[in-house]
């Protein structure tokens, strides 16, 4: 089975290269933030808390989320974050949110770097919660005891499911465009305090990071380049036609009729052609041509 296409592969280090990359918020995660904000705003009550595991540079994204209207941001800051496998990421996040009260945990369906799509499901497993992935629409009931969700399937199909709350939903960008922060929002965000946790400094988290994985990564390799569309004869053609195709270098022989002779003869021939192929009406110009 062949996976993925990213250009950020560094063959020397055998890992993803961060050189020359422009970092942007993951659109799936942005849709999770948007979903949370919408649910809070529609019901008029509740709090949106954003928890992130990432290196220092993600702070600017987190301030953007604050500017969108998030109430609280917790940043587990670690330079090693981008190399951590999904299981470790999930365990650290679970440790960070274990003390918090929540109805819903929302996260992006997949990350932009390795795109394993596992963190949300691991969180649900670790916390014993139901999980629905690739969610594009959430409707909570009034009592917040269950949600009707729509999931994105292939080729535009959707699936509807009912899920008890509390739960974990991983969101797809089809859920909707994240709102654009207001100017006052951005000003507030700049001044706001982001709660920082350094996983290396928390004993339980340090233990998790030191644990050997049950899974070995065998290798990371770029995909085989798919060649540009190459000229090839259709295998369904006869052998002689396949050979003719090769011999012609893929160019077809266009058959046309050549007219030679005096200008009047050529004019008449062109006229006949135009008439036959209905480029001109049959009686238009006939007199003029006959007069030649």
């Amino acid at each position: 089975m062949r996976f993925t296409t990213f250009s950020a592969f560094d063959p020397a280090g055998g890992k993803l290269s961060e050189d020359g990359r422009i970092f942007m918020p993951n659109p799936c995660d942005e849709s999770a933030v948007e979903a949370a904000l919408r649910l809070r705003d529609e019901s008029g009550k509740g709090q949106v808390t954003i928890v992130n595991l990432g290196p220092h540079r993600t702070e600017s994204t987190l301030r953007w989320c604050l500017a969108m209207g998030a109430d609280r941001v917790i940043h587990l800051e670690s330079a090693a974050a981008s190399e951590m496998p999904p299981w470790t990421v999930a365990r650290l996040l679970v440790l960070a949110i274990s003390g918090l009260n929540f109805d819903l945990i929302l996260t992006g369906r997949a990350s932009l770097d390795r795109g394993s799509s596992q963190v949300g499901t691991f969180i649900a497993e670790l916390m014993g919660l139901p999980v629905v992935t690739a969610v594009a629409r959430i409707e909570l009931n009034a009592r917040r005891s269950e949600a009707v969700v729509e999931r994105v399937l292939e080729r535009g199909d959707r699936e509807r499911a009912v899920c008890p709350i509390p739960a974990v939903f991983t969101t797809d960008r089809a859920l909707g465009r994240p709102r654009y922060p207001t100017l006052p929002g951005r000003a507030t965000a700049r001044r706001a305090k982001i709660e920082k946790i350094r996983p290396e400094a928390v004993a339980s988290m340090k233990e998790v990071m030191a644990e050997p994985l049950a899974m070995d990564r065998v290798g990371l390799a770029p995909p085989k380049i798919r060649p540009k569309k190459i000229l090839a004869p259709d295998s369904g053609l006869s052998a002689a036609d396949r050979i003719k195709f090769i011999m012609s270098g893929g160019m077809g022989q266009t058959s046309g009729s050549k007219v030679k002779g005096d200008p009047k003869k050529m004019a008449r021939a062109v006229f006949e052609f135009l008439k036959e192929n209905k480029f001109i009406a049959s009686d238009e110009f006939q007199e003029r041509i006959d007069g030649l």
Binding site: K224, I225, A232
Partner: protein, 662 residues
């Protein structure tokens, strides 16, 4: 300067690391001595390894006596005496940093009892079209024996120092005869459905891998499209080739095309566009995880680099390209692209000599090919003043070799540019690559600093005034436009009526004349001129009839003495373009609006309508200068068409040999 980074990136196949992506594939050479590798093989492969190539797959060695043919042409793998000979070849290849694989082959029904009086063996008792001899269908015991033959040869190759072997399962040979339902009508477990038909090859793979172990490369060559009605296509190949890979016992795939009758496309002549079947390798590569080799008419290292860069193949086979210029890899690596002598797929030096005449290969452009021991350019002990008259290929070759040796050389050409008569031939459809020979020689003339005088017709007075130490006359030949008996002999002569429209093939190809609609070509020469002129005129929309020359030999109906492959493809072209071929007749009279043909056996005459009669005779030497200056110059030589009008291969050969010895 462009750097071909992809072509020159190393690669590891199995446990063998190869310095670049350039390969010379297995091609029979005609150098064998009693079926064994000879010193000629050693020198030949050594020159290519020295030239910087990454991998050499040496010529096919047949596994079993039933597959033996001419022991000068087909190497025989069942002799233990091959082992030290293998060793000499692999030592020479390794000494210059290249790697060596040995190809194992078995022709099956593509064989003959002509040479060793043995019967031929195959999957079923169906003769191969074109070879004609009915084979014996291998029974269970025979299959065991053939598999053992493969194992024995693989072990000999390993002991002889090879880095790996290539199993040749393609080109319509024995293994493809088992694979294809057209040639396998067996009813046992080796015939029937695909799994059964692949059983023979699977058992060979298992046995060979078991014998050689894991530390030895085992590659596989297969056709991917038979190109025959009812034969397997690329779509089929995408199904069965991965099954061989899935055994886990194969280290690479070498993807070719063709079955027996379509081999002309596997070693295609000039009129087949370059890299015609790379798409097969590219498509197979998408379905397998092991390296894939692309092959067939890839003559340009820049093109080869693109193939690797685009992911179409991992290795690029440039076989004839390396026959023509063994230093191709070094030159390409150093960016000296213009110095590469590029193969033009004329097949004259290589395939024609080998397949039509069972002679060792050389090269039209490279007389040293196949003669690496005896043809060497040595610096002269005594620099001489050399005057070369005639700037065609014979003259240019003589001038450049003489200059390279240290002589003081001046080259005179009466036209405004160098090139000579071959440039007329280069006007013919798909023959433009002939001008590549001129391009290379012109570049060498400039690179070496030969003193060139263009637009200068040379007279005897001029020569005497120059007083050279050596005069090389390479003044070429001209078309025969007057077919009178004194010129062409009574048998080939024609009566031409005044007012009849009669032109030469040379005039037609140069674009100097416009013919009428109905054209008759009287072809009196046994090479390619008439065939190309016929196609040239057919492309212009003329109605063309080609009156072919009489057969060369008493017992064969073939009127043309030329490379069979080029002839085969050209006949296909003429058929497609509706040229009428007339055999066993000769044009006797050219009249206004018609010609008179005479049957060469019955002498019956008939008239054919013709607006234009095109004369395609041999040519007439222009030897005036040579004859007049006999005894008046210290050393005088005549080379190429000026000596006798023949082919480009003779012109270059003579230019080389004369200059190499003065």
């Amino acid at each position: 300067m462009e750097k071909l980074t992809h072509l020159f990136s190393p690669i590891t196949i199995g446990n063998v690391s190869i310095r670049n992506r350039i390969v010379q594939s297995a091609h029979i050479t005609g150098f064998a001595e009693n079926g064994l590798f000879s010193d000629r093989h050693v020198r030949y492969y050594e020159a290519r390894a020295k030239g910087g190539i990454g991998l050499i797959i040496t010529e096919a060695v047949v596994t079993s006596p039933a597959s033996g043919l001419n022991p000068r042409v087909v190497s025989e793998g069942w002799h233990n005496e091959m082992i030290p000979r293998f060793q000499r070849v692999t030592d020479a290849i390794h000494a210059h940093g290249a790697k060596a694989f040995c190809q194992l082959a078995h022709g099956g029904s593509i064989g003959s009892s002509f040479f060793n009086w043995r019967h031929v063996e195959s999957s079923s008792a169906i003769p191969s079209p074109g070879m004609g001899e009915v084979p014996v269908a291998l029974d269970e015991k025979g299959i065991r024996r053939v598999i053992q033959d493969h194992v024995d040869l693989a072990l000999r190759a390993k002991e002889g120092g090879y880095d790996g072997i290539e199993l040749h399962f393609g080109h319509g040979y024995l293994h493809q005869q088992f694979l294809s339902p057209l040639t396998n009508v067996r009813e046992d477990e080796y015939g029937g459905d695909l799994e059964n038909r692949m059983r023979f090859t699977m058992e060979i793979i298992d046995a060979v891998r078991k014998a050689v172990g894991d530390d030895f490369v085992v590659g596989l060559r297969s056709s991917s499209d038979e190109l025959i009605p009812g034969g397997f296509t690329l779509e089929d190949a995408k199904q069965f080739i991965p099954l061989w890979e899935a055994t886990g016992k194969i280290d690479y795939l070498n993807i070719t095309v063709a079955a027996c009758t379509t081999m002309t496309y596997a070693i295609p002549p000039m009129m087949v566009p370059p890299r015609p079947f790379v798409y097969c390798a590219a498509e197979i590569r998408q379905h397998v995880d092991i390296p894939v080799f692309a092959v067939i008419r890839i003559n340009d290292p820049v093109m080869a680099n693109e193939i690797v860069k685009n992911g179409e193949a991992d290795m690029v086979i440039m076989t004839r390209a390396n026959i023509c210029d063994p230093e191709l890899s070094n030159k390409a690596k150093e960016g000296r692209f213009d110095e590469i002598r590029q193969c033009i797929a004329c097949n004259e030096g290589c395939w024609e000599r080998l397949l039509t005449h069972q002679e060792g290969i050389t090269c039209m452009q490279n007389p040293e090919a196949g003669r690496e021991d005896s043809f060497k350019i040595l610096p002269t002990q005594q620099p001489k003043k050399v005057m070369v008259v005639g700037g065609g290929c014979a003259g240019m070759k003589a001038a450049t070799i003489a200059k390279q040796r240290g002589h003081q050389v001046s080259l005179y050409e009466k036209a405004d540019e160098l090139g000579g008569a071959i440039m007329i031939a280069a006007n013919a459809p798909s023959r433009q690559e002939l001008s590549q020979a001129v391009r290379y020689l012109t570049h060498e003339v400039q690179r070496l600093g030969v003193d060139v005088h263009l637009g200068k017709a040379v007279s005897t007075e001029m020569v005497l005034a120059e007083n050279p130490d050596v005069l090389i006359v390479a003044t070429g030949a001209t078309a025969i436009s007057d077919p009178n008996p004194r010129m062409v002999g009574p048998q080939a002569a024609m009566d031409i009526e005044p007012g009849a429209h009669v032109v030469t093939a040379e005039d037609v190809l140069s674009g100097k004349v416009e013919t009428g609609q109905e054209v008759i070509i009287a072809d009196k020469q046994h090479y390619i001129k008439g065939l190309m002129t016929a196609e040239f005129l057919a492309d212009q929309g003329k109605t063309v009839s080609l009156v072919m020359p009489p057969s060369v030999r008493y017992v064969t109906p073939n009127p043309y003495d030329m490379d069979h492959i080029t002839l085969g493809v050209q006949m296909f072209n003429l058929k497609t373009k509706k040229v009428r071929l007339i055999a066993d007749k000769a044009v006797k009279k050219g009249l206004q609006g018609k010609v008179v043909l005479q049957d060469i056996f019955t002498e019956e005459q008939e008239e054919l309508a013709a607006d234009t009669l095109v004369l395609s005779y041999w040519r007439q030497s222009d030897r005036k200068l040579y004859e007049e200056l006999q005894g008046k110059v210290k050393e005088i030589y005549c080379v190429g068409d000026a000596l006798s009008p023949r082919r480009l291969i003779n012109a270059i050969y003579e230019g080389y040999t004369v200059a190499a010895k003065i």
